[in-house]
């Protein structure tokens, strides 16, 4: 069942859908005029959300609606599951949802409801619904199966594929496969909300090594430990953020894989990376229960370096309860620099908003991914 309150009445064709949208727009404009306001129709991008479950579809549609003022867009939500029972088919619904800020800009929401094995037709429905001349962001709420032809068809329409590897069951395998399908085959740019979650971590790490005296220690790193949050029972293990952070560090510093990634006790990972001269750097990813953090979120990183007998430790630790991070440098266990900075939780709205500002491919991300490919 489609909730027509949320998604609007079904319309028989794309043309009828556009007419319905125009009708609702007029209605809304008349209403706005009574309240001495004007509503603008604006769109700077198309966003196509692919969801298999109603709840994901709705959450995504609401996220896009929240961004209506910053990234006014036409949102096309494709909802369906090939395994669904009942007569197969596709129906279209259109709605201008009214939110708290939707009074100023129309936020067009279109639902493409697919039932049964109709996936191969999806691209042909999405294409005529796109606002012409505008980029298309494809937001896949689960794990896209790049071996399926319809997935490749949709990727070919898009400028950018947005995924969230936080929920990937085997991110160290899935991410590289996605990277190949998008980037290597040059279909579209790929991005991961989990990568965007790392921006602040990367910023803080980079700042340590802006200091020349500390920068030279990059050559003397003898170990990296990254911890990431798990639930209290330690069952939900999602190491993809931690992996991406290590992948980034390694790709920037010219380290390469020296052995395959292997699970260690308690759901962690333990492996070595190697410098150009072959010397090894042990990497340890540790799951830890941390109150207030979502599963998979990086909660800390520690980089140990030794030069001339002096042991320098660079450490960033996130305090889940207070949403701030302490960045400290200590030499032979004595703290020489300490900074506490806010590190607020990044909600999906913020992350998506950042992604929507970037159209080109993110080279640094792709290089970090490429390193993960060699580890898998």
């Amino acid at each position: 069942m489609v909730d027509t309150e949320v998604w609007g009445q079904p319309t028989p064709s794309v043309l009828a859908l556009e007419r319905e949208l125009a009708r609702v727009r007029r209605e809304r404009a008349a209403h706005a005029r009574e309240h001495v306001a004007t509503v603008a129709r604006a769109a700077v991008l198309n966003i196509v959300v692919i969801a298999r479950r109603q709840v994901h579809a709705l959450r995504a549609a609401e996220t896009v609606a929240t961004l209506a003022m910053r990234h006014p867009s036409r949102a096309i939500v494709v909802l369906g599951d090939a395994r669904e029972e009942g007569p197969p088919g596709i129906s279209l619904h259109a709605q201008l949802p009214s939110g708290d800020r939707a009074e100023l800009v129309y936020n067009e929401r279109i639902l493409v409801r697919a039932r049964g094995p109709v996936e191969d037709r999806l691209a042909s429905v999405v294409l005529p619904l796109l606002v012409p001349d505008l980029p298309l962001f494809l937001w896949w709420t689960e794990t896209p199966d790049v071996d399926r032809p319809y997935v490749r068809d949709l990727l070919a329409l898009a400028q950018r594929l947005i995924v969230d590897s936080a929920d990937f069951a085997r991110p160290e395998r899935t991410l590289p496969r996605l990277a190949t399908a998008c980037v290597v085959d040059r279909r579209c740019a790929l991005t991961d909300l989990n990568w965007a979650r790392l921006t602040t971590w990367r910023e803080l790490l980079v700042q340590f090594f802006d200091v020349p005296a500390w920068r030279q220690l990059l050559e003397d790193i003898e170990g990296v430990r990254v911890s990431f949050a798990v639930d209290a029972d330690g069952r939900e293990i999602h190491p993809s953020q931690a992996l991406l952070l290590v992948g980034w560090l390694a790709s920037r510093l010219g380290w390469r894989a020296s052995d395959r990634i292997s699970p260690s006790e308690a759901g962690g990972h333990l492996f070595d990376l190697a410098r150009a001269d072959g010397s090894r750097i042990p990497i340890r990813l540790r799951p830890r229960f941390e109150r207030g953090l979502s599963e998979g979120d990086v909660s800390g990183i520690r980089i140990d370096a030794r030069r001339d007998g002096r042991h320098t430790q660079f450490r960033i630790h996130r305090d889940g309860g207070r949403w701030c991070a302490a960045a400290t440098v200590s030499v032979d266990d004595e703290i020489v620099s300490e900074r506490i900075v806010p590190l607020p939780a990044t909600d999906v709205v913020e992350l998506l908003s950042e992604e929507l500002t970037i159209l080109a491919s993110d080279r640094v991300f792709e290089e970090a991914l490429a390193l993960l490919v060699t580890l898998a």
Binding site: V206, E338, P342
Partner: protein, 509 residues
């Protein structure tokens, strides 16, 4: 070892903010008003946004004897009430304050102590020899400080860089501005001098350059062929209460016209620079300032209006006149209002007037640039149909709500033709939903990074004074009192007459 001098290999990619190199910021006037109301809150906000380098220190300089701890306590309260992210985060403040120091400087020994401590920071904190000196003192202290910095080898330390930030006023006429520059040049090279005009740190002012040079549709109409005239308004509803003593010796011309208003004119009128680097942008700014026709003493009456506010009402409150202020000389002829008509003698702007006005105790606080376009060459529509039609205007609002609006005529949707003006509004805050940074945050960061694009260069300052000096001189020699205007009005009637003579009128911002 090579990595210590090479670029940071981690610093690549589009998402990372540009953070300054390790350095020390030394603020002269460390206990002053500007420091506690603007500079420290801006620095704290930068720290909060992770925009300060990991190796960084701030040293406040003052005449009082204070310990580092006392200084930190003093500034804590100032930052707590002036940061734009209230309430203050005590943990963030704590680690920020650990890098906050105070040195009392009265004599040469003070400078020696400063040098010793800076050396210690370089060693212990890794600040690497980078120094940014900030003159947040009254202008009469500038020269002695600069010379002392030179004498004590503080500006040349062999390893790092040294720069100096100078607050306005940059002199009080062309000669004193040149003298100030001369003093600065005894110790600093011109590219190490950052003259701050906080207007240039405002987002919309920078956006003006983006609007002009990143869009293809505006630049073709940005000339005498399509623009009827330009109006630039910097209106304040406040009086001169706190700064009366300074203001009475300066006046609106020196306080606002010489810097803010002429900067805005420059940005509207300049030619496209070859790139967005400091040199190219400032070259173009100087070029257009050179093209502005000075208002000579014989033209002052026709092109310049001054005024002084009398008593009146602002937002319903009864406010006293300028001369009733306690710190104002009873016979003061200081102008609190200026309106000017400038022409830019260039290929692009020949014959297009630029009207500038600024004043205290005007009805509201508003800063805007309005580009008014010419009417269509031939009117198709009957006179009564176009009664509601006003000229096309592009307004760049800077205060209070940053944004851009374009006014154009549209048909009223009924039968027959009736035209009404509608405005297409772009509101900065609504479109990006982020708090714009304070101008001081932007400018401190730029100075720490060594980017001088938004700072005023020596030749720019001198060109500004070249335009201002003859008008001030004509007013001074006339011996007349400035015309009075009621507080809460848009200035003296003479300002309206200045426009009316050209068949135009001021906008209501």
């Amino acid at each position: 070892m090579a990595l210590a001098t090479a670029a940071n290999p981690l610093r690549a990619g589009l998402r990372l903010a540009r953070v300054p190199e390790p350095s020390v910021l030394v603020i002269f006037g460390g206990t002053g008003d500007l420091t506690s109301r603007k500079l420290m809150p801006a620095l704290y906000d930068l720290a909060r946004q992770r925009l300060l380098p990991a190796a960084f220190a701030v040293v406040g300089i003052g005449r009082q004897q204070l310990s580092d701890a006392e200084y930190r306590t003093q500034l804590h309260d100032a930052v707590a009430s002036h940061t734009r992210s209230r309430p203050i985060d005590e943990e963030v403040w704590r680690t920020f304050a650990e890098r906050l120091f105070y040195v009392s400087v009265r004599t040469d020994e003070g400078y020696d102590e400063l040098r010793t401590r800076l050396g210690r920071f370089d060693r212990d904190l890794g600040t690497g020899g980078g120094r940014l000196f900030y003159l947040a003192t009254p202008p009469n202290a500038y020269a002695p400080i600069v010379r002392a910095l030179g004498r004590h080898d503080l500006a040349r330390n062999g390893t790092g860089w040294a720069r100096i930030v100078v607050e306005k006023p940059f002199g009080r006429d062309r000669a004193s501005a040149a003298a100030l520059t001369g003093t600065l040049h005894e110790v600093f090279r011109e590219e190490e001098i950052f003259r701050i005009d906080h207007y240039l740190g405002k987002e919309t002012v920078q956006n003006l350059l983006v609007l002009r040079f990143a869009n293809a549709i505006f630049e073709p109409v940005w000339s005498r062929q399509y623009v009827d005239h330009v109006q630039i308004t910097v209106a304040e509803s406040l009086g001169v209460d706190e700064r009366a003593e300074y203001y009475d010796s300066a006046g609106a011309m020196r306080d606002v016209v010489q810097n803010h208003l002429l900067q805005l004119l420059t940005l509207v009128a300049m030619e496209p620079p070859v790139d967005f680097a400091a040199g190219a942008v400032r070259d173009e700014k100087v070029k257009v300032l050179r093209a502005v026709r000075p208002i000579g003493s014989e033209d002052v009456a026709a092109n310049a209006v001054r005024g002084q506010y009398g008593h009146g009402f602002i937002e319903g409150a009864n406010v006293p006149g300028y001369l009733e202020g306690t710190e104002v000389a009873p016979e003061s002829r200081t102008e609190t209002f200026v309106a000017l008509r400038f022409f830019v003698d260039s290929w692009r702007w020949e014959g297009t007037p630029f009207y500038l006005r600024t004043g205290k105790r005007l009805p509201k606080r508003a800063t805007e640039i309005a580009i008014q376009f010419r009417a269509v060459p031939h009117h198709l529509f009957a006179t009564d149909a176009r009664e509601g039609l006003e000229p096309n205007t592009l307004v760049v609002r800077i205060q209070p709500e940053e944004g851009i609006s374009l006014k154009f005529g549209a048909k009223v949707p009924v039968q027959g033709i009736r035209i009404r003006s509608v405005a297409m509004d772009f509101v900065y805050g609504a479109a990006f939903l982020v708090d714009a940074p304070d101008a001081y945050e932007t400018l401190i960061l730029d100075a720490l990074r060594g980017d001088g694009t938004l700072f005023t260069r020596q030749d720019e300052v001198e060109e500004q004074w070249r335009l201002v000096d003859p008008i001030l001189e004509a007013w001074r020699t006339s011996g007349a009192r400035p015309p009075q205007y009621a507080a809460g009005s848009w200035g003296p009637g003479e300002a309206d007459a200045l426009m009316a003579r050209d068949g135009r009128r001021w906008r209501q911002p």
